[in-house]
């Protein structure tokens, strides 16, 4: 039985521990606030687990190291904050194109440009639309608590492995810095998996990698040579590769939509928020309920695939609810809400960004005006 | 006694082998190959030293040497 224990820990550190628990054995990152605790945690804890930690010379190098480690069969990740994630987009596009699993954590801060180090949710478009060049998507998970930050790491790695694509944890500086109690599985301090030089530094043994990741670069012993690439020069070859990828993305959209709903059965006004913002929205909903108003909440957990199904379902009710989207941005997720509702319901929005966080009071005021 | 073989279809006609054959035994062929190049051609004689200079400089790995 796994030993569980409760600790007080920041969101950033919880993600690092969650990744290690998930079998991540390669981390490369470059310092940027407000995610530095994640990198420091990896530097301290990765070697003890037989993993590799590299402080890269840039975000570009870090994401390309993740590409290399993943190509070699390891569970690999990087983390950064908004400006750094912009730099990583080239590598994320290559990872998507080369069909490699990888996990990227974005602890969002204010932008554009250097912006500031306060929490924001302004990278939603970048995260959910692919971000880099080309027709691709990344799976995007949005935790709203330190516990979820930890729990979503194994989920992100599993989804990345299952669909052979990058998965992103999209959180903000508030969640990264916030400390909360966390139930963790105590991990053995010196796993046996690193004994012997023939064993790869990862969760899986060499034999497991050779059977479960047949595409991985392990040396071509006993099989034809493997190539990891995203370049398709022959006429029509790229189109075929892209169509295959699109088919996969449609499958992800069908199977992996995740959300949390609150008071949806009789709600007349449904607040929509994700991540840290959903906690504030939840307080608003509870307060409105106390006042006798039929408020509800949808908290998208996967931002891509966006949980369209629940919106479609609610918008086809006889008495259609109205929606109120609130974000730490000037309106990004609200576009997905509108797309999902296809003009069947009224959608209002309130957002602040650049360091400002919508408060309960501000949101309630706006909702009352509806 | 030595000789070389030239893969005429792979040859692109750069003629570096021609330039470096110490005995001048390689020449440009009159015939075009499928890629539209006049490949290099070995004029078989007893003079070939089997020094492999042609093969060493060949950028397309078209030449094999027998001795």
């Amino acid at each position: 039985m796994k030993m569980k224990t409760k600790i007080l820990i920041s969101g950033n550190e919880a993600m690092a521990e969650g990744a290690i628990q998930a079998g991540c054995r390669f981390y490369a990152g470059y310092p940027i606030t407000p995610q530095n605790e994640l990198t420091a945690y990896m530097a301290k804890n990765m070697p003890a687990c037989g993993g590799e930690f590299i402080q890269a010379e840039s975000e570009l190098a870090a994401i390309n190291m993740v590409y290399g480690a993943s190509a070699a069969g390891a569970r690999a990740m990087t983390s950064s904050s908004s400006p750094g994630i912009s730099l990583k987009q080239e590598g994320i596009s290559y990872i998507a194109g080369a069909l490699l699993p990888a996990v990227i954590v974005n602890i969002m801060r204010g932008g554009p440009g250097l912006g500031n180090i306060w929490p924001a949710q302004s990278d939603y478009f970048q995260a959910t639309r692919g971000g880099g060049h080309g027709d691709y998507r990344t799976i995007v998970l949005a935790p709203s608590s330190v516990q979820e930050a930890y729990d979503f790491m194994p989920l992100a790695f599993d989804l990345a492995d299952k669909y052979l694509m990058p998965a992103m944890i999209l959180a903000d500086g508030m969640l990264g810095q916030m400390m909360e109690p966390l139930v963790v599985v105590r991990r053995p301090s010196a796993p046996s998996e690193v004994e012997g030089s023939s064993v790869v530094r990862g969760r899986n043994t060499e034999d497991e990698i050779r059977t479960t990741k047949k595409w991985a670069l392990t040396g071509c012993k006993g099989r034809p040579a493997n190539v990891v690439k995203s370049f398709f020069m022959k006429e029509g070859a790229l189109e075929i590769a892209n169509l295959k990828a699109q088919k996969k993305y449609r499958a992800v959209e069908n199977k992996e939509q995740r959300w949390e709903g609150l008071f949806l059965d009789d709600a007349k006004i449904i607040l929509v928020a994700y991540g840290s913002m959903s906690r504030i929205a939840k307080s608003v909903v509870v307060q409105l309920r106390q006042e006798g108003k039929k408020a509800g909440l949808i908290r998208p957990v996967t931002l891509w695939p966006f949980p369209r199904k629940i919106f479609e379902q609610l918008s086809r009710k006889k008495k259609r609810p109205a929606f109120f989207v609130t974000e730490m941005s000037y309106g990004q997720m609200v576009e997905d809400v509108k797309l999902a509702l296809e003009c069947r319901c009224k959608v209002d929005f309130f957002g602040r960004s650049g360091g400002g966080v919508p408060t309960e009071g501000e949101i309630i005021k706006k909702v009352r005006l509806l | 006694m030595a000789r070389i073989t030239i893969d005429k279809e792979k040859c692109k006609g750069c003629f570096l082998c021609v330039a470096f054959c110490p005995k001048g035994l390689i020449k440009k062929s009159d015939k075009l190959n499928k890629r539209g190049a006049n490949p290099a051609e070995f004029h078989e004689t007893d003079a070939c030293l089997g020094c492999a200079m042609c093969a060493v400089i060949c950028p397309d790995c078209c030449i094999e040497v027998y001795k």
Binding site: N64, A98, G219 | I57
Partner: protein, 242 residues
């Protein structure tokens, strides 16, 4: 009669996409010969660049990863760290290694990653149509230096090998060339040394090869080799740098 020079096993017997007289074909073959001679084909993982050699993986018959332009040494660093028992090398052109990838190059070298780097210096961007490279010589005409490279305007040819040799993490740097069969044989020895260094855990090893690009130099194959001998080696002297 015995075959005394044959096609290496690690090189697929297919025609390459390179222009006639291009040095990439020689470099590919020397690497394949080295891999065969050291018996490491089943352990080798190559990292191909962006540039003319982007599809080197079509020609080598061993595991290979493509890397984004300039990022080969970041990719190779991770592969080697994850798989220290494999033999990992990058194959990079002058634009890849010494312009867009300078940062990755310098820091992988400075970390002393136990990697082998084969650096093809042909003083030009071949794949994109003959633009100025960091290693383009002064007065050399390219698509983007139509009147020749001028120091006051374009800067000087970048001697990245000499720069890298200054770093403590770098164990072996040698500059070789392809201007004659004898030089090709020397180049092969350097390549072999760079692989042996990795096998012996010596650390970061780099071989710079002065390699011809007849198409964008506007020269015949032989004239290109003569230009390397007479002009290029004046700016980029041959021999062991470290």
């Amino acid at each position: 009669m015995n075959k005394v020079f044959s096609h290496p096993k690690s090189l697929r017997n297919i025609a390459t996409h390179y222009c006639a007289g291009c040095g990439h074909g020689i470099a590919h073959r020397l690497i394949a010969e080295t891999v065969d001679e050291l018996g490491i084909r089943e352990k080798v993982i190559a990292v191909a660049p962006v540039g003319c050699a982007v599809i080197a993986y079509e020609y080598w018959d061993f595991d290979c990863s493509e890397a984004a332009h300039g990022r080969a040494l970041a990719v190779a660093t991770a592969i080697k760290r994850v798989r220290p028992d494999n033999i990992v090398f990058t194959y990079q052109g002058d634009g890849d290694l010494a312009a867009i990838g300078t940062n990755e190059t310098i820091h992988a070298a400075n970390r002393g990653e136990n990697l082998t780097v084969i650096f093809i210096n042909n003083a030009i961007y071949g794949m994109t149509g003959g633009q100025m490279a960091p290693t383009t010589l002064l007065k050399q005409k390219t698509a983007t230096t139509p009147n020749g490279r001028e120091a006051s305007f374009h800067g000087y040819p970048l001697k990245i090998s000499e720069m890298l040799a200054l770093l403590a993490g770098v164990k072996y740097v040698e500059r070789v060339s392809f201007f004659s069969p004898q030089q090709v044989i020397k180049a092969k020895q350097a390549i072999k040394q760079a692989f042996l260094n990795q096998i012996n855990n010596t650390g970061f090893s780099l071989v710079e090869i002065l390699s011809p690009c007849p198409t964008y130099w506007g020269k015949s194959s032989k004239e290109s080799l003569d230009w390397i001998r007479d002009v290029m080696t004046k700016e980029f002297p041959l021999g062991r740098i470290k």
